[in-house]
């Protein structure tokens, strides 16, 4: 490891006007009690006005590195600190977190817990007030206006949606008018449209306000479209820091570090072309010459079945329960409606008139924007909540008459945050909790078998919370499997995972097909939808907006727009090229293009 830096050439007027804003020289850091340095001889420059994506495996030291920029390391997290970090000329070692925070703003991945005040305006003006800045009002208003949040100023923080909360956290940092903005995984828990919005705002801050942006990110698409340079961290030191085009030209190295190239690049590669197109349009442009002119215009995609219909025969809408059944029904929901009470005492509907039949053999993806009712529906299917109206019958049991504990013999519900499912002090006892409590014969063998299947046998005696993100997901999967349910419900199983762990989880879900009769996944991850699901339910404001196969749904532009969804890039390329049917994977795209070539 050389830890060599490569100076990023200036790509804008503001960039590098007065030299780099952050310089790191020979930085090493070790947490107290750790066996080894977490950061090892890091030397790098962050250019003024740059937009840097920091990538690398979990545990490569990305977050620790970013915490040296505002002095949290070493002033907050004590430890052995060697070398030097200068931010706007100030040596962080001799400064303090509070002083550095005026220059470097830090937005955490866990945005809920960094909002510390009850109302939005209060939160945003909190830092300026603490620093005794007399113009705190103007600063707060300015920050809110920059991000278009003025409407939210008087709202209570807990009334905000996930995307809004993240923007407020960003605004709270902007109120200090920082020169550098560090954002840790900005889009981990957001629906695709809101994720896009966050990045657009960051890009605007970068280009219009000249703020240097550093993000920790593993979504290749966002890096490719918004970042100017990529810093690859490996094992506590930077491997290289390159302009984004050059970085993606080294896609194999990125892939080795858990960042597969965006599908735009993969598609071009799969068809034997060079270059690294960073947008769908660019990729389509490259590929267009491979597609014979005048062939297959964007025609009508197969009709999406009406609400409540079966996806058995594509293009043929068929209402009702009984027709085109894949297997026996596992879930029957009729007229399900639910609402929460609002402050004024009125009922705010979250689900309205849902009629559904979910059958054995189906793998269902439940998609829709944040707040569309996905989690509420999952909770109802698990019997954790009962609907205000309508009936849900799961595996022959009415959720109104069966208690959740009884339903748990038939349904397993895996929460979005794995740490909430680790109830005991080891993964093994967590997996064993259900079968042993219910006195199932052969619990020990079952647990051993399940742990083996998710490849956690070696880690089974550790507390689930100490595992990496991907391992935690596999741990929750094991908990679900040991319940031997007919219906498995998963809430966002791939959120905030790096691409390698995500592919791992998707692969494992695919492998488990044989063991679970029916699975429902609520997700924003369109790759998961495209690669895993056999049926997609689109929820929009509490109604089923569309119900069909992934291919049907992903080619319906109107449905996608209403539900704030974005098909995988490969599907978008297929659409831009007018391919029919739309491809769901790079391999399909390649086959389609070749097929038409021939």
């Amino acid at each position: 490891m050389t830890g060599a830096t490569v100076q990023v050439p200036a790509t804008s007027a503001v960039e590098d006007a007065h030299g780099p804003i952050i310089t790191v020289r020979d930085l090493s850091f070790r947490y107290p009690g750790a066996a080894r340095d977490t950061l090892r001889n890091v030397t790098l420059d962050i250019p003024r006005g740059g937009f840097v994506a920091v990538v690398g495996d979990n545990g490569s030291g990305k977050t620790t590195l970013c915490k040296t920029f505002n002095g949290l390391v070493p002033h907050y997290w004590a430890g052995e600190f060697a070398g030097e970090v200068r931010v706007a000329g100030v040596d962080t070692f001799t400064s303090c977190v509070a002083e550095l925070s005026a220059t470097v703003g830090y937005v955490y991945q866990d945005f809920q817990n960094q909002l510390v005040r009850p109302t939005v305006l209060d939160e945003v003006s909190f830092a300026p007030v603490n620093f005794g800045l007399a113009d705190h009002r103007e600063r707060a208003t300015e920050a809110l206006e920059t991000l278009g949040l003025m409407d939210l100023a008087e709202k209570f923080v807990w009334q905000l949606s996930g995307g809004q909360a993240h923007l407020v956290a960003l605004a709270a940092v902007l109120a200090m008018r920082p020169q550098v903005l560090v954002v840790d995984e900005p889009v981990a828990e957001l629906d695709p449209a809101r994720a896009e919005m966050i990045y657009q705002r960051l890009a605007a801050l970068n280009t219009e306000h000249g703020i240097t942006v550093v993000t920790i990110e593993h979504h290749a698409e966002f890096i490719a479209r918004y970042a100017r340079s990529v810093l690859l961290m490996d094992d506590g030191a930077p491997t290289w820091h390159l302009p984004v085009a050059e970085a993606f030209a080294r896609s194999q190295e990125l892939e080795a570090h858990g960042i597969p190239a965006p599908q735009t690049v993969q598609a071009v590669r799969a068809l034997g072309l060079g270059g690294a197109p960073r947008t769908v349009a660019a990729a389509a442009e490259e590929l267009r010459r491979l597609v014979p002119a005048g062939s297959a215009p964007v025609g009508c995609a197969p009709a999406v079945a009406e609400t409540g219909a079966r996806p058995g025969t594509p293009g043929e809408p068929c209402a009702g329960d009984g027709r085109g059944e894949v297997g026996t029904a596992v879930v029957r929901a009729r007229g399900v409606a639910h609402a929460y009470r609002s402050v004024s005492g009125q009922l705010e509907p979250v689900l309205r008139g849902i009629d559904l039949v979910l059958a054995a053999g189906e793998r269902i993806a439940l998609v829709g924007s944040n707040g569309s009712g996905k989690t509420t529906l999952l909770r109802m299917l698990a019997g954790l909540a009962v609907p205000r109206e309508g009936r849900i019958v799961v595996d022959g049991l009415d959720t109104r008459s069966a208690s959740p504990a009884v339903l748990a013999d038939h349904v397993a519900y895996l929460l979005q945050h794995p740490q909430q499912m680790f109830l005991t002090d080891s993964v093994r006892s967590d997996v064993a909790l259900f079968p042993s409590q219910r006195k199932r014969p052969g619990t020990t063998e079952l647990v051993a078998q399940v742990l083996d299947r998710v490849r956690l046998t070696g880690l089974a005696d550790r507390d689930g919370r100490t595992l990496s993100g991907g391992q935690q997901r596999r741990g929750t999967l094991a908990i679900g499997l040991a319940m031997r349910p007919r219906l498995l419900l998963l809430d966002e199983p791939t959120s905030s995972l790096d691409s390698a762990s995500r592919d791992d989880v998707i692969g494992m879900l695919a492998d488990l097909r044989a063991h679970i009769e029916c699975a429902v996944i609520a997700t924003h991850d369109m790759h998961l939808v495209a690669e895993w699901a056999t049926r997609v339910l689109v929820l929009d404001r509490g109604r089923v907006l569309a119900d069909g196969t992934p291919r049907q749904i992903l080619s319906e532009a109107g449905v996608l727009a209403r539900a704030r969804l974005r098909p995988p890039q490969v599907t978008q390329i297929g659409q831009a090229l007018g391919l029919e049917p739309v491809p769901l994977s790079v391999a399909e795209l390649a086959a389609l293009v070749r097929g038409e070539e021939a």
């Binding site: 620093f131 740490q419 259900f434």
Partner: protein
């Protein structure tokens, strides 16, 4: 027994209650006042009843308490609990005193004690129902209470729904993954034991998960200069507080009424 959706005792309900605490405080007389003045007003009135045994004065103070409660628009729930609590207190202590051989004398003494306690409770209700946590936090800061205390008040307000949600999720997890109670037993004691055990068990993951969340919060506080101690920070925070006409008016009225009560007490003294 068919399950129905309930609106109480859920996370949503707690959030609503919190927002209502904040909203409900709009409109009452004391809610329009400077929080510092309200706290001072309360401090004076909470002490005064302890300085006399004159029943005339106490009765007038009690009446003043009733008026304050009405002016503050205290909600029926809080008021109801107060009345029931006061009533039961009197009854229990009275029964116990009679048991030990007390008589009317004892009851009169108790009546007076409860007149005092009742008056103080009503002043406290009137004052604190009118102060949402943010205002109280400002008032505390104004009286140079430790910054930690003032912060704790508003932080609790912010974090309670998150903590509740986490707890209920973990509790539900236990509920789903343990076997249902087959025979509830007399008065459902097995169910009670199960619920108690589960509630205790939930704290293992809750301790660890909350520790992680708190770490993020404190880190964020650090970056937001909470521990920076800028000399002007306090002044800025309190810059919006103004003692206005209404504050003077309420203070004056209270002073007049107190003097009136004392004079009336001198004119028609009544002791036990």
């Amino acid at each position: 027994m068919a399950r129905k959706h309930r609106d109480v005792l859920t996370v949503e309900w707690v959030k609503l209650e919190l927002i209502r605490t904040a909203y409900a405080s709009r409109g009452g007389l004391f809610a329009r006042m400077d929080p510092r003045v309200v706290v001072l007003w309360y401090l004076v009135l909470a002490i005064v009843p302890w300085l006399t045994h004159n029943i005339t004065v106490l009765a007038l103070l009690f009446a003043l308490g009733v008026v304050s409660v009405v002016l503050a628009r205290v909600g029926p729930l809080v008021l109801g609990l107060f009345v029931i609590g006061l009533g039961f207190d009197i009854v229990y202590t009275a029964v116990a005193s009679l048991f030990f051989g007390g008589g009317w004398e004892t009851l009169a003494a108790l009546g007076m004690l409860n007149l005092k306690l009742g008056a103080v409770s009503m002043f406290s209700m009137a004052a604190f129902v009118s102060l949402d946590p943010e205002k109280l936090s400002d008032a505390l800061l104004a009286f140079r209470a430790p910054k930690l205390l003032a912060f704790g008040v508003s932080y609790g307000y912010r974090m309670l729904p998150i903590l509740m949600e986490e707890f209920i999720t973990v509790f539900d997890g236990h509920r789903l993954r343990s076997a249902p109670v087959e025979r509830p037993g007399l008065f459902g004691w097995r169910v009670v034991v199960r619920v108690a055990k589960t509630a205790v068990r939930c704290f293992y993951p809750i301790f660890l998960n909350t520790a992680v969340n708190v770490r993020t919060t404190i880190e964020a506080l650090e970056t937001k200069g909470f521990t920076y101690g800028a000399p002007d920070a306090r002044a800025l925070r309190l810059g919006t507080l103004r003692v206005a006409g209404i504050d003077w008016a309420v203070c004056a009225a209270t002073a007049v009424l107190l003097t009136g009560a004392v004079l009336a007490g001198q004119a028609w003294p009544m002791f036990r």
